[in-house]
Amino acid sequence: MGGVISVHSSRGGTGKSLISANLAVILARRGRDVSLLDLDFRAPSLSTIFRAGDYRLVEHWTNDLLTGRCPVERVMIDLTERYGTKGRLLVGLANPSLDAIREMMAMSREQEMEALRRLLALRRTLTGGMEMDHVIYDTSPGIQYPSINAVVSSDISLVVTTLDALDVEGVRHMLTELYDAFGKKSVILVNKVFPGDHPWPDKKREELLQQLGATFNRPILAMIPCYCDVLQADRTTIFALENPDHPFTGALREVAERLERVSPPP
């Protein structure tokens, strides 16, 4: 059975959705069967990245999975052909309409308990029955119901952070208060570390890597430089596909490889 990887962060703006979408496509192009699900119900973004266009045309959303309105087979959109991937690429989008966001934010404790139960069952369906090699959850940041549900129902989390002190402190807090409490495995991805066009000397990079390892007490999967053109790129396309030779794409390929070492496909 494949594994479920939740991509999480302590605050917004760390690059979580960009990284999730690109990793899913990179892994599928390598021949892995990948399901990517947007579980950030407060600020859905995969519908923009995957150009759902007029979202009224999408019939079923990941919201419907958690509320039990429809099964996963009807939520997942098959984008294998669109992106020419060797493996299957299935994407589940979260509903960006205000009504849907409001509904998800107003769920009762009982409904959140049901949502967790459904997510645990979803893991069995996607990795078991549907035989996915990787399931990637793009979660909402911080400690709130949708993100904790996603983390608790995952096998491992890729926690994305920047070097901003607020991010670092937030992640440290999350690791002890949430990940340790549930005994959940996690690895850290540090994004936008130093300017991509002015790379740091190896010694300085190594020192930072050791310092971050000690700060988080978790494996640091990668440190990705900050590229202005990535930040300015069209968010309705897959960066790695449009820019296969860009160092950011190279860094993400490396992340995909390392991720498969900690969360191997079956």
Binding site: R109, E112, R117
Partner: protein
């Protein structure tokens, strides 16, 4: 290193007997608690006031925030039951948590008393389930 002598063998046999005895006691406690629950249920059905009212703040759904608020040892047991598809016995939970069956049974019964889990007997085995639709 000294080989295990006859005394070592006797100790392990004695330990085995103690473990079996503890398991028997634990099963009996389970049955007594079930009888207690049944009596309370019958009393409630007959309209008589309940002897012990469980504090309402401890009852309800086992959502992630409630799980986070549980003490570590109870959260571990509760998570195994949450992940089990179709309930779990104390033995199954103990196997996953790596704790003694008697200890695990105690924790699971605490979660039942707190209103987060319920137990149902299927033949000779008792299964623990997450309570659905708690009062919250």
């Amino acid at each position: 290193m000294a080989a295990e002598g006859p005394e070592g063998g006797q100790t392990s046999t004695a330990m085995e007997r103690v473990r079996e005895a503890l398991d028997r006691i634990s099963s009996k406690i389970d049955r007594l608690m079930e009888m207690d629950e049944r009596i309370l249920q019958l009393l409630a059905e007959s309209g008589a006031p309940r002897r012990v009212e469980k504090p309402p703040e401890f009852r309800g759904a086992l959502d992630v925030m409630t799980l986070l608020a549980l003490p570590d040892h109870l959260r571990k047991s509760a998570m195994v039951v949450c992940e089990a598809n179709g309930g779990a016995t104390a033995d199954e939970v103990a196997e996953r948590t790596g704790r003694a069956r008697a200890v695990e049974s105690g924790y699971l019964n605490q979660l039942v008393a707190m209103g987060h889990l319920e137990k149902r007997r299927k033949g000779r085995r008792v299964y623990f389930f997450v309570v659905e639709g708690g009062s919250g």
